[in-house]
Amino acid sequence: MGLGGGKETGAPQGQNPSTTPKKEKKTKKMRRKRKKADIEELKKEVAMDDHKLTLEELSAKYSVDLTTGHSPEKANEILIRDGPNTLTPPPTSPEWIKFCKQLFGGFSLLLWTGSGLCFLAYGIQSNYHEEVMKDNLYLGGILAIVVIITGCFSYFQETKSSKIMESFKNMVPQQALVIRGGEKIQVDVQNVVLGDVVEVKGGDRIPADLRLISAQGCKVDNSSLTGESEPQSRCPDFTNENPLETRNICFFSTNCVEGTARGVVIATGDDTVMGRIASLTSGLTVGKTPIATEIEHFIHLITMVAMFLGVTFFGLSLILGYGWLEAVIFLIGIIVANVPEGLLATVTVCLTLTAKRMARKNCLVKNLEAVETLGSTSTICSDKTGTLTQNRMTVTHLWFDRTVYEADTSEEATGTVIPEGSDTWYILARIAGLCNRADFKPNQERLSIAKRTTTGDASESALLKFIEQTYSPVSKMREKNPKVAEIPFNSTNKYQMSIHLREENSQTHMLLMKGAPERILDFCSTFLLKGQEYPMDDQMKEDFQNAYLELGGLGERVLGFCFLNLPSSFSKGFQFNTDEINFPMDNLCFAGLISMIDPPRAAVPDAVSKCRSAGIKVIMVTGDHPITAKAIAKGVGIISEGNETAEDIAARLKIPISEVDASTVKAIVVHGSELKDLNSEQLDQILQNHSEIVFARTSPQQKLIIVEGCQRLGAIVAVTGDGVNDSPALKKADIGIAMGISGSDVSKQAADMILLDDNFASIVTGVEEGRLIFDNLKKSIAYTLTSNIPEISPFLLFIILGIPLPLGTIAILCIDLGTDMLPAISLAYESAESDIMKRLPRNPKTDNLVNNRLIGMAYGQIGMIQALAGFFTYFVILAENGFKPNDLLGIRLHWEDRYLNDLQDSYGQQWTYEQRKVVEFTCHTAFFVSIVIVQWADLIICKTRRNSVFQQGMKNKILILGLLEETMLAAFLSYAPGMDLALRMYPLKITWWLCATPYSFLIFVYDEIRKLVIRLRPGGWLERETYY
């Protein structure tokens, strides 16, 4: 069996969608049925045995002649059977479904319910009464409009982000060189079929999964699949049981870096290893974002409050003798009044503002809700290659003259401190520059050296750049010392040799060699010290060993360099034969060692330490080797200084690992092969007991398992990565972060956020912004919810006390969708109260966006004061117009009777219906204005949750603008001509504006005292009960 285990008998996985519609339907159905089983299947490791087969068996299995390939007819047949060699694009939901998700998701549902209830109430009323107040109809309509507008708004926001995504896509069609019927032909990659014999050369993209038949110096870059930063050499030999490690398999969509190879296609399209990962990614179900969970929790709370109030007053109104029908209308009215109409828009705008701010800092957020997720993140699982590191080999250390020199590895490396005038350095640099097949691609003179692209092997390129930067232009050096012969590097020799004409004496040659240090040392009988040759001694050999171990222990790849000035008998014109060596190649002179690594990005260590101080655990999950992984982890601080793994401790104390006290070990490096044998409890143990974890040699499936493990422990997990191998984990994570420049399309598709500059440090910005918006949303919601009480209580007292309605629906809408809007949004601009990067991530279980304390504060305390302010204004206006408070109780039925036009006030005057209604609407206006006035104070107290306003200051300009705007709007609504007809708002006397001011002042003073007590007695009762 090949790739997909038992899948071959059924319809092939990557069925061509364009075959026949009937077939498509059938496969779709089957696929859906098997989808769940498939995901479990895909999560397992790749199982294949093609790499173990001999060429004959291979030929038989795919019934293909390995020299002539398929006949074109047969290839065609297979193409029709299996479908084209492409990845099935992830199922994208149609635009209208995306739109509907915006319209009916989360918060919107609450508003839709409210809207529906309004229409229901209106329906009931119009059925039983002839003349109906149209309030409910309007309210229902406006609620619907609010949802639709906010829905459209967030839909357009997200389309905008995804449009930026589209532009990343690479549209260039790829070609492959296939042997069919004995002839080499170029075909489109999508037409490559199973069993095709394919030829690839350096620079090509591998067109399908290949089992190699032959190879010449072939190297492939598997970094997008396995995360290994170094190119891997490929040959036809079976070298490892693991198909991902064996040398004779090349994988679809990886790159051939150099050399040529010929191979048989063993899997195409979705059956390829890459395809399996892509299908795994698109098949994963993703959990809710933390903010969605929070909003759901909030809706629960609000609904509970609404139901409680509604049912209580339903009962009360029945007891008070209202009819069933009226009581039902009241019930609906109360429930709807609890819906914060403006909050959906406020939350959306706040999130959008943050998303924009983050986009300016190069964090592109694909999904608005993901804006906050980073703030809640408690664990970051980061890929190494390309995320933490620069994904290019760079020279880091040199060892010559018995000294280790460090090279500058920053992205913009300009020069390195190399001792001037050292002759050894002069020779070493020449060997590195000349015995080197890498070269710069043309036309890049304007770019800095570090940014130029090169041809050839990664380590040779690293040497080339290094010499170019620190010594002299390599091209000139090569011009002066033309190469006359060369033995290229191969895995058996483990060295590379070249012979050049000498610059100072153009008649003689020099032999230059580089390679694995131990091999190089074998060739040498002397060594260079300060430009002088000395015979090799044990002291030198020991130094060499130490240096080699030291550099190797840093996870670096070490190369040795040596040379030999050929005697004059091999002068110019001598024909060097590299096959049958006709020149001396021993007793060379050892020059030095150069080591290189894919170095960490400059900003990463700082970012990691910031994450750590913010209480976020940073875990490295990489496909690379443990030593390299550990070295980088130490370099960037994922394993912090002074922390040792069990192996380190064992080595230091010279005791077996089993004797190391496990409880003292905080750091661990887990190998993929160990991980494979762990069950989930053991994985949980590892994740729980260690603060500094590195997972090395992990497969994409294992990355997924690690993410799931973290989530199982209750963490909110962010995953960063750029390769295809990261994409399942990216998708499964609470927030997947892909790299914008180096990231593969698959990873970008799976991610929720994209770092446009590939800078890991941007994550810190994201965390900061996410935490800030969470805090500020709390404030915003607290502000918005507070005015709910002065909005609901008039209706409740209208029912209970039978007083004329103090505040009408229109005025409520003017508050929720008018005056409260900008101030609530302005709280999103509020700066943090303390260093939010110094505290632990919030606990998603206990630290909710909206909790009982927030509701208690908003509804129970500040809201109550606000309601009193409104009622005071209301009673003042009615009393000053002739209706004293005592006479108002129970007046409702008479007041509302439109045929009772001689209602008597407390002074014996008589009022027509319309006259008293004007007074009532004046009261509504005044109540509305009072709410605006107490909301001033509310806005100012909501700026901070712990600090005093005097500490926080009034630097938020938008907030000041909001204060002015709501006041102006209130004045406009009250005094603008025509408002009496349009919104039934009436002009107020100046004194009526002042009624609420004492209450406004009270709110401010009360909350300042409350916050003072909270600051003075941290952890005290008041904090436990009122700090939200």
């Binding site: 959990g287 005071f872 006397k989 009762w1021």
Partner: protein, 279 residues
């Protein structure tokens, strides 16, 4: 977040029970008795303080009010017009002359309403000079007599059924009281029947004159015994044309400062009612 398995019904029930009362921690609805006590005490004190504050501000506000005249009267610059008796719902009267029960309620109410207007009830009131505003300086304010005889056939003196039994029902029209209102000119209430073929109307006093001596009004407290001037409208259905309904409209006329036309307020200086006389 990892997916949680759906809780079974029993599990969620026991969770609820634990929430209601948790015997191990002694928590009732998520709080211990002490915690409940503290939070209730907090809110008791808090609301007690708020109630006291509210009461205080209300008290201060009430101190600023004048007992005799409201602070503002600009909301009622012009009086409304209203009929009496007021039907339960809309201003639609219906009766059957042959069926006393059908108008019993109206008659009862009219009698009750006119009781203060009886001669002996007005004994202590002043007979004021006709045709001029009766300005008073106080501190004692007197009320002018309104002789019920002005209502003639609708006074209830001669006809205890106010014309209902004869098919010519009486309805009282009155102008709303407004403190300090001084009508200009010679205000009268002019009533017209919308269809003279069905019914004619007769107003008492003649022409629906409202004498200026009843103005201005000084308010319930100062102006004790004030009798609101009334105008009676008798709807005279054309005989042999029973089972008809007629709409009557009354308006204030003859006074330039009393409005009788407003788009919104259908009762400002006017009133319209419908009477159905069943066969």
């Amino acid at each position: 977040m990892t997916k949680k398995e759906k809780k079974s019904f029993n599990q969620s029930m026991s969770e609820w029970k634990l929430f209601l009362y948790n015997p191990t921690t002694g928590e009732f609805l998520g709080r211990t008795a002490k915690s409940w006590g503290l939070i209730l005490l907090f809110y008791l004190v808090f609301y007690g303080f708020l109630a006291a504050l509210f009461t205080f501000t209300m008290w201060v506000m009430l101190q600023t009010l004048n007992d005799e005249v409201p602070k503002y009267r600009d909301q009622i610059p012009s009086p409304g017009l209203m009929v009496f008796p007021k039907p339960v719902t809309a201003l639609e009267y219906s009766f059957r002359a042959s069926d006393p029960a059908s108008y019993e309620e109206y008659v009862k109410e009219l009698k009750k309403f006119l009781k203060p207007y009886a001669l002996e009830e007005q004994k202590n009131l002043t007979a004021c000079p006709d045709g001029v505003l009766f300005d008073q300086k106080g501190p004692v304010y007197v009320a002018c007599q309104f002789p019920i005889s002005l209502l003639e056939g609708c006074s209830g003196v001669n006809d205890p059924d106010f014309g209902y039994s004869l098919g010519n029902p009486c309805i009282l029209v009155k102008m709303n009281r407004i403190i300090g209102l001084k009508p200009e000119g010679t205000p009268r209430i002019a009533c017209v029947s919308k269809d003279e073929n069905i019914a004619a109307v007769e107003t008492y006093p003649a022409d629906g004159i409202i004498d200026l001596k009843y103005f201005p009004y000084y308010g319930k407290k100062r102006h004790v015994g004030y009798r609101q001037p009334l105008v009676a409208v008798q709807v005279l259905f054309v005989p042999n044309n029973p089972g008809k309904e007629v709409t009557v409209e009354c308006k204030i006329d003859g006074s330039p400062n009393l409005k009788s036309q407003d788009d919104r307020d259908k009762f400002l200086g006017r009133v319209m009612f419908k009477i159905t006389a069943h066969a």
